[in-house]
Symmetry: C2
Subunit: 228 residues, 2 copies
């Protein structure tokens, strides 16, 4: 169904990919703000209006790039994780975090696109959700594995937070204690806080040996969700 779909459909897919590639090139080179449909078209030898056959608007193109970026990051993390699926959860956790950081450092503008500020009138399209979850799912899986054996839970929960914590656990990982699930979500956000601060220059003149600092910080994060 997907292969012999006629030359037209195939051409369309190919052109779409070419446009995204060139757009990604410009994104990496200059950042999202300077990504210009006209420049993409120019570089591809088309006229700008022709691009609108493939993407309804500049924001649409950007959205496509966002999804690709989430997927690229997710794939990178999954790949790193797969290489040591048998290791201790703590090692796997640190590895996934380091893969995310490595990807972010290698693709700063794409990282900014997905974890930086929402650009236009925002409201992230629903279509991005699955791609966006991949790193999170990895962390959930690792934590779940770690909790298979001993039953140590996270820090005590205030009464007022308990309903929410139970809801989070039920949604994310029903087999995890609410304390752990909550700590996990927090760790997830905090991980990207660390990466963002490094990437966006907030650590300038503060943290020098960022690699080691990061490793230490995410290790602590892991301890917070019960790994060791």
């Amino acid at each position: 169904m997907s292969t012999a779909q006629g030359a037209r459909a195939r051409a369309r897919i190919e052109v779409t990919a070419t446009i995204k590639d060139e757009a990604r090139r410009q994104l990496a080179a200059e950042g999202a703000a300077k990504l210009s449909l006209r420049a993409v078209a120019r570089e591809l030898g088309m006229v700008s209006s022709a691009l609108y056959r493939y993407f309804a608007s500049r924001d649409d193109l950007l959205t496509a790039l966002i999804i690709d970026a989430y997927d690229s990051l997710g794939e990178s993390a999954e790949h790193a994780h797969a290489a040591l699926a048998q290791a201790r959860p703590m090692e796997r956790w640190v590895t996934v975090c380091e893969a995310a950081r490595g990807w972010a450092l290698a693709h700063p503008h794409e990282y900014a696109l997905i974890y930086g500020s929402p650009i236009p009138g925002y409201t992230a399209p629903q279509a991005t959700v699955p791609a966006a979850s991949r790193v999170g799912l990895l962390l959930i899986g690792i934590t779940r594995d770690a909790h298979r054996g001993p039953g140590l839970t996270g820090p005590a929960l205030a009464d007022e937070l308990r309903p929410e914590a139970e809801r989070i656990a039920a949604d994310l990982a029903p087999d995890l204690p609410p304390e752990t699930a909550t700590a996990l979500v927090a760790a997830w956000a905090q991980l990207f806080g660390l990466i963002g601060f490094e990437l966006f220059g907030q650590f300038n003149r503060v943290v020098e040996d960022r690699e080691r600092f990061f490793r230490h910080a995410v290790t602590q994060l892991a301890r917070g969700v019960g790994l060791d």
Copy 2:
């Protein structure tokens, strides 16, 4: 020296402030991407070229807004903190964090400007540094107070991180143990990770009761730096 500086200088200051106000209005309404010099000028009844007497470029205007935003956030946090300067460090810590979150929720676009992705060809101007440090200084002060009495330190430091940790401590707070100073820097980044995730929609369909979740998470952050 600042009052009777001649009508010309005074007018210049006033016009500059008016421009920033209108720019801030547009920033709050539409986001940084749609902040247009021409629109600001139009709204002010000037012609666009006249604005260039006051700001050398759009990026210059944005930089001025960034500094103001840092100051606004810092002032908001300092104000909240001052109200309970006598309380226990933990309470003060949580209060400062909540003030930062509150400010961010109230000024999402300004928050995105300072803690989101760097917009233009980036490289945050050096002039932003003092304003940007205010929340961090608050957290350092609280932690320092907490460590005045008992001598409990943070989590053990791997040997490989020790030199960096000692450097961080020496730079930031020489009277704090390196373990604590390192944890503090991490907590600082993680705090804004939490705020950013909530603000930029990453918590949609994940965390519902964000207020309580946040309070819990920053309490844990505080524990990580030795408060209780």
